[in-house]
Assembly symmetry: C2
Homo-oligomer: 363 residues x 2
DNA sequence: ATGAAAGCGCTAACAT
DNA sequence: ATGTTAGCGCTTTCAT
């Protein structure tokens, strides 16, 4: 009855050749290889403190040697449903989504969470229904990417049900939910500075959808930097709603003004692409005659020509962060429930590509 | 503590208030509610034949009443890895992907499969590595959306490992793997007919990436229909690679020819968007001066202006179908292994929007 | 610091 | 046609 007896016991002698090869190595194998108990391996895999360094090492070596990778399903089961995380989305068109899903899926795989992805359309009823399904499905937490992150009713419903909510991509921290986001204000300011440094002194701005707080922050960041420009700068602001078409139309208005801007900063890439089209239509060269900047760095940014100067929003990493956060919070929730929401800020990046350049000499 | 007696037994009295609320109802609850054994519930949930209709009914009623929904993790575990399905993707930019993921995820949820999503980049080594991970991870089957569906090496590796492979979106059936796809030839022909019916007699075509068989089928469908036109029609074919930029450039070439076409049919929406930009740049009105048609009906199709006439490829449903197929096949595989691959064809749809119109009178 | 035992929700094989 | 038993791979609680 030494180490091997256990093995014999496990599947019993019953099913003779039931080697269904589920993927092979389990913790058991690793444990035997490392000469420790299964529990120790579990502790190592979960970074639980009380393990001697040497033991941890030999376990890690065994893991490597056997190519062990934990089984998410088993983990989720053993953890008794903790780690069942919902994700609500509505706009499959956003270049955003696939990146976000990928990030979340990735995080789910590493952390052993079980992601349940729920879809709804733009209407409030549909959103409420989806939230209902998520709650009924027993989620420990729910991730809300924009625009659902702005939905008071969704977050209220979740709170009421005792489900942790994470708002992703809002313009500022929410008082009623944890959040993962970027600094839209600073990013917009940075882009504006980039344009100003290129010599632009008359810059058009295309706003995003008004119901998203991030839109406001982007505008504020832009305006603030315009006011700060040393040889003073001037700006024209047009409404938009994050769609290509609204960007096209806004750019048309901008370019047909008496004194058109030499640069256009759109609040997202879709609208920037629209602005690009408007410029081309007028026979303007980008960036020779007009600079165009976007925001988000979605796939579209490099799918258009010239490729867009834009702000890289770390969407995938935000999704991962959201996943980790919701997991952690749903675990802790039982203890101290009523504390201030966490607000996690991720770094963005200015990506200079081909759509922005020096201001044209004299105009 | 009435019907809860068993409940007490379950977690033992040990963990006093361990009501971690995993989502609530389990098969056990349903079984008790319906007055049958747990196994019967399992059989009903899995549509196993040998259950009396009346029993099945009462179980279903209990399921409804309690709002029961099966736990995918537990299922996957119990099935010992069967139902562990891999999905390989590489191009997160494709408007394709998020729809595909959503479809697959959806199917996974209903069928209780456990989707493992693996990423790789375009290189062959990276693909091989990803396939290796998937195999090592013990997948019962792997879904390969385009362009991986064209990879002989990937499919060979999978076969060798005894893992079921499903190729999605290829131009024709593969001899070495099951497939789910649409009729690219017929769809392209249909679009061409649409253009011809609008009076166009000189039509430009922008080809897709040469390494995808679907590209070839689309071209063939186009050419066939051109030849069939009654007042005879003429065509110009330009290469492309499915990117916006290649579409833009191809359209430039097309439009700068001595006798330019009155309509351009691009092999996908990205390239059609590029063609749109090229037209705008020349001050051409779409569809007044030039009609433009795309293919796929990705989100981009409605994000550009004018919105694209295109072919709707049922991506999400293809993903679902692929999931169902891989599940079924991986289950049956043990029995009869060596039979002809299944080839599943899904219906497409011609979507007429604003980018195509009557041929301009005289030119 | 480590191990043993029990059980997460479900399905497979084996009774009945 | 339905019930019983064992166990999927892991984490939990309780020893040691």
């Amino acid at each position: 009855m030494v180490s091997l007896s256990k093995k014999t016991t496990r599947r019993g002698g019953r099913v003779s050749r039931s080697k269904k090869r589920t993927g092979g190595v389990t913790m058991d194998h690793v444990a035997r290889e490392a000469g420790v108990s299964l529990m120790t391996v579990s502790r190592v895999m979960n970074n639980v403190p009380g393990v001697k360094a040497s033991t941890r090492d030999s376990v890690m070596r065994a893991v490597k040697a056997l190519g062990y990778s934990p089984n998410a399903a088993a983990r989720s089961l053993a953890r008794n449903g903790a780690g069942r995380i919902g994700l609500l989305y509505s706009n499959p068109s956003a270049g955003y989504l696939s990146q976000f899903l990928v990030g979340a899926l990735d995080g789910a795989q590493t952390s052993g969470a079980l992601l349940v992805i729920e879809k709804c359309d733009a209407s409030l009823e549909s959103e409420a229904a989806a939230i209902g399904r998520l709650i009924a499905g027993g989620m420990a937490g729910v991730i809300l990417p924009a625009p659902h992150a702005e939905s008071d009713s969704a977050i209220a419903a979740l709170r009421e049900a005792g489900v942790v909510a994470i708002a992703v991509g809002t313009g500022h921290a929410r008082p009623d939910a944890h959040g993962v986001r970027m600094d839209d204000f600073a990013a917009a300011a940075e882009m504006t500075r980039h344009l100003i440094e290129l010599g632009h002194r008359r810059i058009g701005f295309i706003k995003g959808a008004v119901n998203q707080t991030a839109s406001v922050e982007r505008l504020l960041g832009f305006e603030t930097e315009i006011r700060r420009a040393d040889p003073p700068a001037d700006c024209l602001v047009e409404p938009g709603d994050f769609t290509y078409r609204s960007g096209f139309e806004a750019a048309e208005r901008l370019l047909s003004s008496d004194h058109p801007p030499t640069a256009i900063f759109a609040s997202n890439d879709d609208m920037a692409a629209g602005a690009l089209a408007a410029a081309h239509r007028r026979g303007l060269d980008v960036p020779g005659d007009l600079s165009v900047a976007g925001f988000d760095d979605t796939p579209l940014a490099t799918a258009v020509w010239p490729e867009l100067t834009t702000i890289r929003q770390p969407v995938a990493r935000m999704a991962e962060a959201a996943l980790r956060l919701v997991l952690q919070e749903s675990r802790d929730q039982s203890r101290r429930d009523s504390r201030a929401p966490i607000d996690q800020l991720l770094p963005h990046q200015l990506i200079v590509r081909a759509s922005t350049g020096q201001v044209p000499d004299k105009s």
